[in-house]
Symmetry: C2
Subunit: 351 residues, 2 copies
């Protein structure tokens, strides 16, 4: 299967991504074969609040790259960490299919979580590897929302585009959306609507006021307090001198796409020249590793705790005889009691 994917076989790509989504173990073997062939595509994250027109923008960018000479191949992963209540993802897909259908240089895939956000982020990471190994030159990771999880997913890209639109950005709350720190390029889409200039001015003012000098590398929540030792050095690079542009587009009319694509390409060149590309790639891989470790540890814990103990601790928790903290201590003590990995306790009592 890895041979077919390296040759760009679309059905093999789609099949492997489905296996990844379904968490099938055989997918990891293929991924291990593909892994040495990854690291070539340009990963572009696109995020922003609902209603900003991200999908239209990505479609226009895809069309632009396809019209270049020679055309660049484009993959789009549209990520919806929320459950597909409205069927909106499917509708969005269909609109895309009509616009970009039949072009063998474009690959589009929606990925939704149906409740399991952690699993989705890991699946997206792996799907990106598949598309990267398959030779796609631009890989867009587009998220539907602007919450922390969408930001987590989008920020794992090398270039992050944050999309705003007039009328969403004129509020104290809108500038707290947590996506400003991770932007490499700002886009004010729907620039023909009232308030566009104000949105641009607000963003520029905020950039001048106090943007952190270099993009902070956020970790998956729980691990933040204990940074992975091996990566500490690489994450504290000095600011690398990229001036974050604020661009205006009207995606529905195709306006502003050429300067945006130019900014995307310039940012990649900047990342390469400054050495920042390696830092971001490393941070991304370490984030992936952390997420995998976290999921696996929890799985082992649930698999191995005696059901009786779980039941009794849960009852005491619900009856407010044990705080969640105290309940956690009891379960962890049981999990680690038969020897444990705790160096201090290795000489201690064993059952």
């Amino acid at each position: 299967m890895s041979e077919q994917i390296l040759n760009g076989n679309r059905r093999a790509i789609a099949r492997l991504i489905s296996q990844i989504e379904n968490d099938r173990p055989e997918a990891q073997a293929v991924l291990a074969e593909l892994y040495p062939h990854t690291g070539r595509g340009h990963l572009v994250g696109v995020t922003g609040a609902p209603g900003t027109g991200k999908s239209s923008l990505v479609n226009q960018l895809a069309k632009f790259y396809r019209r270049q000479e020679p055309p660049k191949s484009v993959a789009i992963i549209a990520v919806d960490p929320t459950s597909p209540f409205s069927g909106g993802a499917i509708l969005g897909d269909r609109i895309r299919m009509v616009e970009l259908a039949g072009d063998p240089g474009v690959f589009i895939r929606s990925m939704a979580s149906r409740g399991n956000v952690g699993g989705l982020a890991r699946a997206v990471d792996d799907a990106v590897k598949v598309l990267d190994a398959a030779g796609f030159e631009l890989i867009f990771i587009e998220t539907v929302g602007a919450g922390q999880n969408e930001v987590e997913i989008a920020k794992s890209a090398q270039t992050v585009i944050v999309v705003e639109a007039p009328g969403l950005g004129d509020d104290v709350q809108a500038i707290k959306a947590g996506i400003l720190e991770i932007a490499d390029i700002f886009v004010v889409n729907k620039a023909d609507q009232a308030g566009a200039e104000r949105a641009v001015a607000t963003l520029k003012m905020m950039l001048e006021l106090g943007r952190p000098a270099s993009r902070p590398v956020l970790h998956h929540g729980q691990v933040m307090a204990t940074p992975a030792p091996a990566s500490g050095g690489a994450k504290e690079q000095p600011p690398a001198g990229w001036d974050i542009p604020v661009l205006k587009t009207i995606a529905l009319k195709g306006e502003g796409i050429v300067p945006l694509a130019a900014a995307i390409d310039q940012h990649l060149a900047h990342l390469r020249q400054s050495g920042e590309l390696a830092n971001r790639t490393q941070a991304r891989l370490i984030d992936e590793l952390e997420a995998i470790l976290q999921a696996e540890l929890m799985k082992r814990l649930w698999d191995q705790l005696p059901p009786d103990l779980l039941a009794s601790v849960t009852i005491q928790l619900v009856e407010r005889n044990l705080t969640p903290h105290a309940a956690g201590q009891i379960l962890l003590a049981e999990f680690f009691k038969d020897g444990d990995g705790l160096n201090q306790d290795q000489a201690g009592s064993k059952q």
Copy 2:
């Protein structure tokens, strides 16, 4: 300290919440003392996209409950899982202070993550317990955004209010914000603006079309695939017959607040009558337990892995000789090698 908090001493409450935010171990001892006194307050989550006017709405609700005879005590936790780039949280606080200052029956607290979302969610859970034990009758948990993490935090409340506003809801993407499944009450705020009727109609249509019969209990991402055994039964209750209202408000003018407060109170009565209150409380506590276990397992892993091994695995990962998945397997094998909690391996080799 727990005595002072049970007596409603504001300085003691504030001090304990600060200790919780700073993850100080002494806080857990006080929380254990307070825990039997929790479970009385009505926890109301308020979430929605930026710009919908959630804060104003919560302020109006607080004023309403304070005017009741007898007045009800109100605590507000304003949660910002995003880093406080703009200083917006502080500004918002000041606006609130002016409006509600000096009322001993109102307690307001902002909580921000500065990058550690997992830690924030746990701190909010614990802060809610403090306020609950201190006797606040209504505890509002208000989130600034509408991403998955904000939803996670808000949904742990007993009653969840999802706030929309005209102009944000007229887009296919806006209805995918992932907050619809968790709403007990919909509010279209800014109802004097153009598009309000359309937003109401859209929400009502969506409710008719296909809302799941009962609120799904989402788990923290990674654990979704392996449900906690002890809680499985309680989570699959039949629909309990609550008709989700869609209400219009103009928070800035104080309009629509009385019907909204009535809906909040009716929802609590409904939860009590249907037995759903116990289910939600149980699900919330189990979510808390899972989050604590996850954080503690990761901490132990990082503390105990040999730095040399971590470094060499990281290098192989970055050089694309090891996939994140394979790297994770190596680290876990090391972590569990000295006896492990793996039942099958207990008779296996020990160092």
